[in-house]
Subunit: 349 residues, 2 copies
DNA sequence: TTTGACAATGCAAGCGCTTACACATACTTT
DNA sequence: AAAGTATGTGTAAGCGCTTGCATTGTCAAA
């Protein structure tokens, strides 16, 4: 076993409230009030106290503060993975907004596993997270129960549902994808292939697929005849899936991908198979990551306001923490970005 | 029953150690020991306690624990920005490793500003971070002093210096870039342009530039004649800088970029100017982000083991927290990845 | 002057946990 | 059999802060 030893105390311990109180010649209560409710202390006392604070570089001990005040100015976020640029960007904006409001971010990543998410949530709450940011709606009921029981303000990003029990900041993945798919069918494509992220426990992915199906039906294409391949987020996986589609007996004339990364992979596969895009094959993505505009030809995709989503989520969460009540979800607009990968279906069958 | 005291925020408070103790029929001390030093309690007591813990879904209150134990099992990281994929990936691996060891990650991003970093550090330490991960060495002396004074185990990632006061996990940016630049000069390029990230407060960027200069000198090219443009991390900035270079009177035959993102921008600019890469113009990057292999032609660059860096940094930090001592820095290997953007210099002047 | 009302501050009780220390058993040694 | 040595557990003293309540000082109205 590990020989756990006496932990060394910090040689120099951080200044504490008593030190500040002594220097300023007031009680600790007054120091505390200066920091938390400055308006109730007289201006000149406040000034003296703040001077002492600055002089010592005093920063209240977090643990003590949380315990005493029962709030931590910390907001937790559980995201599938930071490695995905869309989450990273959203999280960055989220963090910046929190920072502006003196909140700190506690992150955990669930790797898309809902059971991990449960444990992470427990941990973050134990760590005093005042509120939580989650991605998407799909997760164990138990998680929602815990959140509700403990009355933790929560917002879901990346999805939008008007009457949901927890507030959300996002967009309707199904509608966004449906409208986008309409565009594909309008170009005359009848035989399409769908490459999606795994839809289990992922409402964004499954709703996007559903959107495609609705669009197909509306455009006179039999949804049940559409082949769907699910594969994990990575360029190579996208390429592999596309390769399989394109080398089948009756290859599709368009590949609708659930996200840009898969689409980029598809583009790569097409290039390897010497297919011209969009003349021989159309490819579409979703998210509008930076890569999408760099690809050659540029990827036709749906723009998602990642950063704004992060910022708005932070604002909503903060206002929920400071004044618990029911707040309406916020719907963000997505935008179809036409670049070069979507073209009319080839004439020959 | 006695009327409930008005609770501040939570209607339902999380289970506490007393609840567990009562159910298990032991004292709180024993519960605490079960959780922290399980080997000192008798097996059957432990079993009863753990059953109670599970039954209640008990999770020790973080603030209380930090206060009492003077350690938080939290490690802080201050990175320039999560938006940069290289940091996101490193951070993700870092987080995963922490998680495996029951540590939690506290993140802050400094946006490359050293004064922000100072404040963030203060905050993270007040929040009980047991240790810190920082990126690169360049920062105010004051920050190092604070770290030393409080004896906070710290590791610097992304750079490597053998005898540095704080341990580092990374590579020698200067040498890596120098060897890479050697390759460029060996291809006959005499007139090169350098596009770098801002070098102020960024030793990775400045060392890479220094590496280029050393290589130039060693290869008979006057370093002082090499033009350097510094611009912030973004594809568009890279494109702009490249455009300026390529439309000057005597355009360079090779553009050495401080990172892949700038290089991709340069590639875009070249395409817009109808220059063939690498026939008319060579371009190199650094980092080997995913984009690098997708670009067409593939970007010749230096591969940096981002994920491993994160993982190793986490391991080092944890071992430092659990047993404070001096630990040697770890040097990671980078690897030159030849793809399509570097070719011999054109014959004609 | 007396008396409220109010503003500013101090006092001290926790917040939920860890851990030094004390204590009670159960074995070993002499 | 007495004394020593482990071993397992309980007791209770904090950890550094916030905040309800008590106290003091001021000023305006009675």
């Amino acid at each position: 076993m590990q020989p756990e030893k006496t932990r060394k105390r910090r040689a120099f311990s951080a200044p504490k409230i008593d030190d500040v109180a002594e220097i300023a010649g007031v009680s600790t209560a007054t120091v505390s009030r200066c920091l938390n409710t400055p308006d109730v202390v007289s201006p000149d006392t406040r000034e003296r106290v703040m001077a002492a604070v600055t002089q010592l570089g005093y920063e209240p001990n977090f643990g003590a503060r949380v315990m005493a005040a029962k709030r931590s100015n910390t907001i937790g976020a559980i995201i599938p993975t930071m490695e995905n640029a869309i989450f990273a960007r959203c999280l960055q904006a989220f963090q910046e907004e929190l920072d502006r409001n003196d909140y700190t971010l506690l992150v955990a990543s669930s790797s898309y596993k809902t059971d991990m998410e449960k444990q992470q949530l427990r941990t973050l709450l134990a760590r005093g997270a005042d509120a939580m940011l989650l991605i998407g709606f799909a997760r164990d009921e138990e998680i929602y129960e815990m959140l509700e029981e403990r009355q933790v303000p929560t917002v879901v990003a990346w999805s939008y549902r008007a009457g949901s029990r927890v507030a959300s900041v996002g967009f309707d993945n199904k509608i966004a994808m449906r409208e986008f798919a309409d565009l594909v069918f309008k170009q005359g494509h009848r035989k399409i292939g769908v490459i999606s992220a795994p839809t289990a426990d992922n409402d964004r992915a499954s709703e996007r697929v559903a959107g495609i199906m609705e669009s197909a039906a509306a455009n006179g294409v039999d949804p049940s005849a559409i082949e769907i391949v699910e594969t994990k987020y990575s360029i190579d996986n996208g390429a592999r899936a596309a390769h399989a589609f394109l080398t089948s007996k009756v290859p599709p004339s368009a590949l609708i991908c659930g996200n840009d990364v898969l689409a980029i992979g598809a583009l790569k596969a097409a290039r390897e198979l010497q297919l011209r895009v969009p003349e021989d094959l159309s490819i579409t993505g979703f998210d509008d990551i930076e890569l999408a505009q760099i690809a050659d030809p540029g990827l036709t995709t749906v723009h998602v306001p990642h950063r704004e989503m992060g910022r708005r989520a932070a604002k909503l969460l903060i206002s929920l923490v400071e004044n618990p009540r029911h707040l309406p979800s916020e719907q963000l607009a997505t935008r179809i970005v036409k670049r070069g990968t979507l073209g009319p279906a080839p004439h020959s069958s």
